[in-house]
């Protein structure tokens, strides 16, 4: 009887044991199949060149740089131009760091307007200029007897979203190892005001700051970048760096997320709350009185003069909030010096904290003067660096679509703002004895249709790049290249002396 009772029990156990682990088999099967599906999608996206717009990696000093050895297909604007960033993040094919003695190298610095990801590299104005100058040089040398073969090489170092301070740091850390003979800095709209901008969720807004207070030296501070790299978002991005570099599916998600970050304030607020909940709540509570105050002020019509200000991303109000210890943006600017104590020898005891305070206590003119002074110092510094590396330096003002083709009143205002910015930069260049070329001015001679044809939505079309190259060619040729063509033995150029800012020092945090 006992045997009869026990027998079925054993069978039951035996029968149940495979079922007990059946779910595990199903889960493994699902995971394997999901992995296969994702690999299939990756393959399709790779062959179609979709999801290849994740192009930046974090850099402690400059903020962000191009990824290395990365294939990209830029679909956000233009016709899906394909490019490849080499190990050093450069797009030019077969580029070597070492320069031949018979080569004249031109380095282009700037932001997305100069970078031109919207068109293939051979259609960017740098490469068009390269071809044109090479041809011109060839013709010139043909006329000279005993002339050695010489060539021109234009290297595009521009990176989307870069401010002048980032270009300055890039010049020091990367550009000079390519031994350029001429450095051209592309100036685009708002560059004047981007040298001091608080970082936010977007990686392309993480920038070092540059400031020069009255009576003080220029301060270049990578503190905001370092601070940002300690945020949960930055840590997360660092953790998934392999995925960011290689996955097309991640590329799609990142592009979508970037769109949301740029266009959706609610999403931005949620992200800030998730990453720093305590800080967000404190900032929101702290912001209530100022919100009420500004609301009351707007009701009383006390903010009438605000419209006369340049539409910069940093307004005096934002500066004021950025020095407020309770503000969400304050940490990057406010706490940077305490994190890295460096500027004692150059600032004569003045600290970075005092800069925004000084500005905030003044008026809009003080802000403009601060930005102008900072830009002037940066330009002077760049020129001095170039001179010390046997290179020449000039500034190129890029044509801006909103300024050239304004569709409405707001864009008309932006156009006036850009004109003011260009005038300021022009004055600064004159003061620093820097050669200056205004492509914006040249573009105003075109008809309305021709101006429209220069652009996709915001950036230059191949026609736009050709136009810039056409404007740039005689300028480079007359100002710089003629000496190179006529020189037969001595190399490099004679170092230029007499720079007003040659003894100027900077602080790099």
């Amino acid at each position: 009887m006992t045997v009869l009772l026990e027998k079925p029990r054993v069978e039951t156990v035996r029968a149940k044991s495979p079922d007990r682990f059946k779910w595990a088999g199903t889960v493994i099967s699902i995971l394997v199949w999901q992995l296969l599906a994702l690999l299939l999608v990756e393959g399709i996206l790779y062959s179609a060149g979709i999801g290849e717009e994740e192009i930046f990696k974090l850099d402690r000093q400059v903020g962000f740089v191009h990824m290395s050895n990365k294939r990209i297909t830029w679909r956000q604007e233009g016709n899906g131009a394909r490019s490849y960033f080499d190990a050093d993040g450069m797009r030019e094919p077969n580029l070597t760091v070492a320069k031949g003695s018979d080569t004249y190298r031109i380095a282009l610095l700037g932001d997305s307007q100069v970078e031109g990801l919207q068109v293939p590299i051979q259609d960017t104005f740098g490469q068009v200029l390269n071809r044109r100058l090479s041809e011109q040089l060839k013709q010139q040398l043909k006329q000279q007897s005993n002339a050695k073969h010489k060539q021109v090489q234009v290297l595009n170092f521009a990176i989307s979203g870069y401010s002048t301070v980032q270009e300055y740091l890039q010049l020091k850390t990367k550009v000079f190892k390519y031994q350029p003979d001429l450095v051209i800095l592309g100036y685009s709209a708002r560059d004047l005001f981007e040298n001091w901008s608080p970082p936010d969720q977007a990686m392309t807004n993480v920038r070092p700051l540059a400031l020069q207070l009255p009576g003080a030296h220029l301060v270049v501070d990578s503190g905001p970048v370092v601070q940002w790299m300690h945020t949960p978002r930055a840590k997360f991005l660092a953790q998934i760096s392999w995925l960011r570099e290689h996955s097309h599916i991640w590329g799609l998600i990142a592009a979508q997320e970037q769109q949301l970050t740029l266009s959706n304030p609610s999403y931005k607020a949620v992200c800030t709350f998730i990453s720093q909940p305590g800080k967000s709540i404190r900032a929101a509570i702290a912001g209530i009185p100022s919100t009420l105050k500004s609301f009351g002020a707007s009701l009383r019509g006390l903010r009438q003069n605000k419209s006369s200000l340049p539409q910069s991303s940093i307004q005096p109000n934002s500066i004021h909030s950025s020095i407020n210890p309770t503000s969400t943006h304050s940490s990057s600017v406010h706490s940077a010096p305490s994190a890295v104590p460096v500027h004692s020898d150059v600032n004569n005891g003045r600290t970075v904290q005092s800069a925004p305070e000084a500005v905030a206590s003044g008026n809009n003119q003080a802000f403009d003067n601060l930005m102008k002074r900072t830009m002037g110092s940066l330009l002077a510094e760049m020129k001095a660096e170039c001179v010390s590396h046997n290179a020449q330096f000039s500034v190129l003002v890029m044509p801006d679509k909103q300024a050239l083709c304004p569709d409405n009143h707001a864009q008309q205002d932006a156009s006036n703002d850009y004109a003011r910015e260009v005038a300021t930069v022009h004055t600064l260049c004159q003061e620093e004895n820097i050669l200056f070329l205004d492509c914006e001015q040249a573009a105003t001679t075109l008809t309305a249709k021709e101006r429209h044809d220069l652009y996709f939505n915001v950036h230059l079309t191949p026609a736009g790049h050709t136009f810039v190259a056409e404007v740039l060619q005689p300028f480079v040729s007359a100002s710089f290249l003629s000496r190179f063509a006529n020189r037969t033995r001595t190399w490099p150029f004679r170092r230029q002396n007499g720079s007003k800012t040659a003894s100027f020092r900077y602080t790099l945090i």
Binding site: W33, V41, N79, I249
Partner: protein, 489 residues
């Protein structure tokens, strides 16, 4: 609310959940409510229009069944066609009438006063062509002796069923009512089948049709210099676009209905594999072609009578088919073009019957390939006529066909879209499923077991396919929702 929008993807699960939680009259009321919500999300006022027509047709159906009077039937027909003509053809009629008067005035034969054509500024109620045809079918069948729908709620579901409301398939009420009263029971098989249809439709719409649509827009709508290659690519692109768009819509509609346990009739049966134009219309928009056959072609006399009468009936049916698609002459030309194609095909078939040796020569594999190619080129040309905004653009495009050496700008656009890779994957998946259907013994490891139907994939395989489809749709999804082509009809 369109099927490929986020709103619909929220709306549908709520309705499905509520549907299976209710029974009997509450369930019917729920579908009516959901259908009207769906319809009125576009323009609320036309909910009242649909409701009024529903009430009128329901009452007319009961009246016809009671008194069997042809006058009542004609009254119902006039009411429905009157509504259709008012909203769809008034402007077309007046514009052409006044253009004719202008022409007569220009000839100087009669004294005609100069009038300006009145323009009716009303939006076309969404799906009017489809539900009017359903009402006509209902009244005609009741008049022929079929039982009417006594329940107003059931009739309302038939009239406004949201999965087929906007662009078909055009339902037959007898079949629909049977399925409504006895829906298929809820099961995972039903769920997976419905979801698979929705996923397939979404993929066709978002990943293929919306992508190809960007190639079609400029050549068909703008006065830009085109080359022979551009015109050919644009015409072929629209041929693919229209199928993926319309059959994608039908798949989503049928999938949605299936989640409610109701199996709607198929509307497409691989039309691009048709070997002649008659077969094409048996495979393309099946519910419309069968409606035209039953309610226009056969009442006109069908294929009975002389050859001339048969040709007349065919041409009338297809001219009406063209006009049904839209109030424009190019739609009439489209209908006429297909009518001529059908007549030629019929004559060709009768010629082959008279010449058996010739039939043998053309019936081989090469002959079949040639037949397929000829048919599909005919269809491509027909759809190009369908797509042009007016006859002027058609002339421009035909003129561009001579520009053999012109620059083809569409090639760059194709490369940018990455559509070729996605279409290739879809074709491979389709060929695999076709192969598995024909040879059930193959690829057993992809299925749940040997005894299940050929396309009953194992759950992990099914989920993986959905993941891949969702990723690809996400990859190429346009920033704004693109409406379906047949929404304008």
């Amino acid at each position: 609310m369109i099927f490929s929008s986020l709103q619909y993807l929220i709306f549908l699960p709520i309705v499905v959940f509520a549907y299976w939680r209710t029974r009997g009259g509450a369930r019917i009321a729920l579908i009516v409510l959901a259908s009207y919500f769906f319809y009125m999300s576009w323009l609320p006022i036309y909910g009242a229009f649909l409701l009024a027509l529903t009430l009128a047709n329901w009452a007319l159906g009961l009246w016809i069944a009671k008194v069997r009077s042809k006058y009542i039937f004609w009254l119902g027909l006039a009411l429905n066609l009157g509504c259709l003509c008012y909203y769809k053809y008034t402007n077309f009629f007046f514009t052409n009438l006044f253009q004719s008067l202008d022409f007569v005035r220009a000839l100087g034969l009669f004294k005609v006063p100069a009038w300006e054509a009145p323009i009716l500024n009303v939006a076309l109620p969404l799906g009017i062509s489809f539900f009017i045809f359903e009402f006509i079918h209902y009244l005609a069948d009741v008049y022929r002796g079929n039982k009417p729908i006594k329940s107003l709620m059931e009739f309302s579901v038939f009239a406004s069923f949201f999965p087929s409301q906007i662009a078909g398939p055009i339902k037959r009420y007898q079949d629909f009512l049977e399925k409504l009263r006895q829906p298929e029971p809820w099961s995972t098989t039903l769920f997976f089948e419905g979801c698979a249809l929705i996923m397939q439709g979404l993929f066709k719409k978002i990943a293929i049709a919306d992508q190809i649509g960007t190639l079609v827009y400029a050549p068909f709508s703008q006065a830009i210099p085109l080359s022979t290659a551009d015109v050919s690519i644009a015409a072929f692109a629209f041929y693919i676009h229209l199928y993926c768009d319309f059959s994608g819509y039908t798949d989503i509609g049928r999938g949605s209905a299936l989640l409610l346990g109701i199996r709607l009739p198929i509307n497409f049966n691989l039309p691009y594999l048709a070997l002649n134009i008659t077969e094409f219309w048996r495979r393309w928009h099946i519910s419309l072609s069968s409606w035209l056959r039953d309610y226009v072609y056969i009442p006109l006399g069908g294929s009975r009578g002389s050859t001339l009468a048969c040709i007349r009936n065919t041409m009338i049916t297809f001219l009406l088919c063209g006009l049904w698609h839209g109030a424009s002459w190019h739609f009439v030309v489209f209908g006429g073009f297909h009518g001529i194609g059908l007549v030629i095909n019929k004559e060709w078939n009768s010629l082959l019957e008279r010449l058996p040796s010739f039939q043998l020569a053309t019936g081989g594999r090469v002959g079949q390939w040639l037949a397929w190619l000829t048919t599909q080129i005919f269809v491509v040309v027909g759809f190009a006529i369908f797509r042009v905004p007016d006859m002027g653009q058609l002339t421009t495009m035909l003129g561009s066909l001579a520009n053999v050496n012109g620059h083809c700008y569409l090639l760059g656009a194709i490369e940018k879209l990455g559509i070729l890779q996605i279409a290739a994957v879809y074709m491979l998946a389709w060929m695999l499923t076709e192969y598995m259907t024909r040879k059930p013994e193959s690829f057993r490891w992809l299925r749940d077991g040997a005894q299940v139907p050929p396309l009953h994939f194992a759950t992990p395989v099914r989920l993986a396919a959905w993941t891949a489809a969702c990723c690809l749709m996400f990859a190429v999804k346009p920033t704004t929702d693109v409406p379906f082509v047949y929404f304008q009809f």
